[in-house]
């Protein structure tokens, strides 16, 4: 385990409706307008990332009603309400407002009429309307909530985007993680974070980012703190990147078993997600930066279906099987290359 234990940060237990609405307007770019009780947004809280369409609750069956979730009223629910006589409408809607519902969203530009809005107002339940189609709205909202309630951990490592592959460089203090990251930045790769990396688990993938405090700063031993973004420019940094390979740097020890073929793919579990890990022994004269680039390219190759170690193994197997005629012994790469004198 290159990082020792990594305890997940306690999950965020709630977000206010005011924050939710502001963020989805700003970051997710969803158009929404307030319809009722906008003032109570500050002290209404969302505690779950799940959404709920309260069809059955409107019919009066509230036995297993998950009222603590965000309630979505789409075409079906709104038409169901609107087709009733006013008296029944109020009765059906009271099933919702009598519970402590955090917020109600009307999707697809639907409306539920003045009297029902007033009921929500009195109960202090905010209602918002969006022109976006219901399933799409739910997808966008779910994605945002997943992120907000995601599992996080902090690891001591450096994170660099090398040819589009997110490499997390781990290892003991002082082994030279930052120096490798700096060298990679110098070669045109992009720094995500140094020393303090926040890893967020979302949809079973790991996203690494810097902290708000330390973003794009780096500590180089003997020199102190440097600012990578102002030194190397905007192209040298990025906010976040998926963790695709972990490179664990360690001081070379003769006893240690080193992977020589690349046929065994070791994985490390971070927040219960398995990520390939490469243990890289550090020896004098070894250029870790170039190796990091090769690791990224090798990862890309295998992602595109070519595994060099496997290909070589296949070639070797064929050769061992077929030792007839001229196939004996060691041969030159090319038998005769005409006209090659210089």
């Amino acid at each position: 385990m290159p990082f020792g234990k990594h305890t997940p940060v306690p999950k965020r237990d709630k977000i206010s409706v005011e924050y939710l609405v502001r963020q989805i307007q700003k970051s997710v770019n969803i158009e929404i307008e307030a319809c009722a009780s906008a003032a109570s947004c500050d002290n209404r809280f969302v505690t779950e990332q799940e959404l709920h369409r309260p069809g059955l609750a409107l019919t009066g069956y509230v036995e297993h009603f998950t009222y603590q979730r965000i309630q979505i009223l789409g075409n079906t629910e709104c038409d169901f309400l609107m087709e009733m006589p006013p008296e029944k409408q109020r009765e059906a809607f009271s099933n919702l407002v009598n519970h402590n519902v955090p917020v109600i969203f009307l999707t697809n530009g639907n409306s539920i009429g003045e009297p029902l809005m007033k009921m929500a107002d009195e109960a202090g339940i905010p209602i918002f309307r969006s022109p976006i189609e219901t399933t799409r709205f739910m997808f966008l909202l779910r994605d945002f909530l997943d992120d907000q309630f995601a599992l996080q951990t902090v690891v001591h490592a450096s994170m660099v985007d090398v040819y589009g592959i997110g490499i997390l460089i781990a290892g003991k203090s002082g082994i030279g993680k930052s120096e490798v990251a700096l060298d990679l930045v110098e070669r045109g790769h992009r720094l995500v974070a140094d020393d303090v990396v926040i890893i967020t688990k979302k949809n079973n993938i790991l996203i690494a980012a810097a902290t708000e405090m330390s973003k794009h700063f780096m500590e180089i031993r003997g020199l102190g703190i440097v600012d990578v973004m102002s030194m190397f420019g905007i192209r040298s940094v990025r906010y976040q990147k998926r963790v695709e390979v972990v490179v664990d740097l360690y001081l070379w020890d003769q006893e240690e078993h080193v992977n020589r073929t690349g046929l065994d793919h070791e994985k490390v579990s971070i927040l219960d997600v398995n990520v390939p890990i490469i243990h890289l022994p550090i020896t004098p004269g070894k250029n870790i930066t170039v190796i990091a680039e090769v690791i990224a390219m090798n990862h890309l190759l295998s992602h595109y279906g070519y595994d060099a170690a496997k290909a070589f193994q296949e070639k070797l197997r064929k050769r061992i099987d077929d030792k007839s005629g001229s196939n004996k012994g060691i041969r030159r790469a090319i038998d005769y290359f005409e006209g090659d004198f210089e």
Binding site: V9, S173, D195, V196, M213
Partner: protein, 94 residues
């Protein structure tokens, strides 16, 4: 493994100079050194890590030391916190 809670005593909090003193001191020991704060666990042998906490005067941190010289290291680190990083405490500051 040893755990101990400490309070930041110097008026200016854990700014750059105290952070560097802390990291320098911790690096002298072989033991792993982590600080727990806000539920985060930060490697305290990294100066950026310690400064990320932005611990103010009065903030409570939990130190975690793990290794062969953890007792000695804990004593030295706690002494450093107690001394307020040889800076002024809030009372003297006024």
């Amino acid at each position: 493994m040893l755990m101990k809670k400490v309070v930041v005593k110097n008026a200016a909090g854990l700014h750059a100079r105290p952070s560097s003193m802390l990291v320098q001191l911790a690096s002298k020991f072989e033991s792993e050194f982590h600080i727990h704060m806000y539920g985060y666990r930060i490697n305290a042998k990294s100066i950026l890590g310690v400064m990320t906490l932005a611990a103010e005067c009065g903030a409570e941190l939990e130190l975690e030391l793990d290794g062969p010289d953890e007792k000695k290291a804990m004593k030295a680190i706690v002494d450093l916190f107690e001394s307020g990083f040889s800076e002024m405490s809030k009372e003297k500051y006024r």
